[in-house]
Amino acid sequence: MLINSVIIVLREVLEAALIVSILLAQGQVLSLPRVYFMLPVMVGAILAVVYASNIVAVSALMGGIGQEIVNTVLHGLIVICTMVLIGAIKKPQAKLIIIIAGAGCLATAMVRELAEIIIYINGFASVPSLLSSVLAGSFIGAGIGFSIGVFFYYLIVGMRPINGLRLSLVMLSLICAGMVSQAIQFLMQADLIPSHAPLWDTSAWVSEHSIIGQLLFALVGYEATPTATQATGYGLALLLAFILAIQKPRCDDVARPKGVK
């Protein structure tokens, strides 16, 4: 149970930790006050508690597909906020947009990932014999996840600002594309869009069960058996993120973020 808790919590924490660390690093590179990022993390944590507390009612919504609908909306919000952020990051006059999009992304990511951890740990409140190992495993998993987040934070802020921004944009684009793929999966699971056979199967090379599979899932939205719809959604999201990222600032964008040449 200890190892299982480590893996479950690590997977959830890793996704949130990556988003938080990338956005914090971007804020650092762009000299934005940290309060703009810490506040939405706290708001997201509170909303995660509310979501987790009402999971039974949410699940029963719309004939039993409420969970899929809420998760799709959460993933959709993360994708929209991330795309807006990618498009605005090079525009110095778009500071407010960057802050709002970053805050939205952080709060939504916290709700999505933290709610599942709360549901998981809370489920063991009724199984006292397992609770201590679940808590221990959860702390270890959270610790590893945070450590990886800290690693990427210092990796980005330690680079030349322009390279740090580039790396953060690439990482955000991949996470965003993974979120699109996951949202499509939820819609198929709820039978709101047609489900098809997988386009390919790479589970023999990298299993989604494995630690590497879980890491790749968090980093690049790795899916061993994606459907054509998921692969198309993933590709289109990457393409859109790329187009937004390579947009040149308009001529009137005279000032550049501090440290970015």
Binding site: A60, E116, G123, Q189, A190, E208, T225
Partner: protein, 105 residues
């Protein structure tokens, strides 16, 4: 226009109404039944009833499905249409005991 809407609704509801559904019970962190057999190329509605007090997450990498089923509640997961084969599923919160598979023929 109204007639078109009615026809469209009937067409969209037709397959749903005809869709087979199978109930899976989670009890003492085990799936009952743990082996299901369904027809190939058919969409199936799985009704997962969690009779335990603790939550469970129905998960299958092969089916691309994951859903949290809170304690003493039920959830719905649609699977298929699938090609013939065996598709394992498990409870992510209790993976050692909560295991099962769907055989598609």
């Amino acid at each position: 226009m109204r007639l078109l809407l009615v026809v469209a609704l009937l067409l969209s509801w037709g397959p749903v109404m005809a869709m087979p559904s199978i109930e899976i019970i989670i009890r003492n962190h085990l799936f009952y039944p743990s082996e299901l057999t369904i027809a190939a190329d058919t969409k199936v509605k799985l009704i997962i009833v969690n009779q335990d007090a603790s939550a469970e997450e129905f998960e299958s990498y092969e089916l691309n499905r994951e859903k949290v089923i809170p304690g003493h509640s039920k959830g719905i997961v649609f699977v298929g249409p699938l090609a013939p084969g065996t598709y394992p599923f498990f409870g992510e919160f209790f993976p050692k005991t909560a295991q099962g598979h769907i055989i598609v023929k």
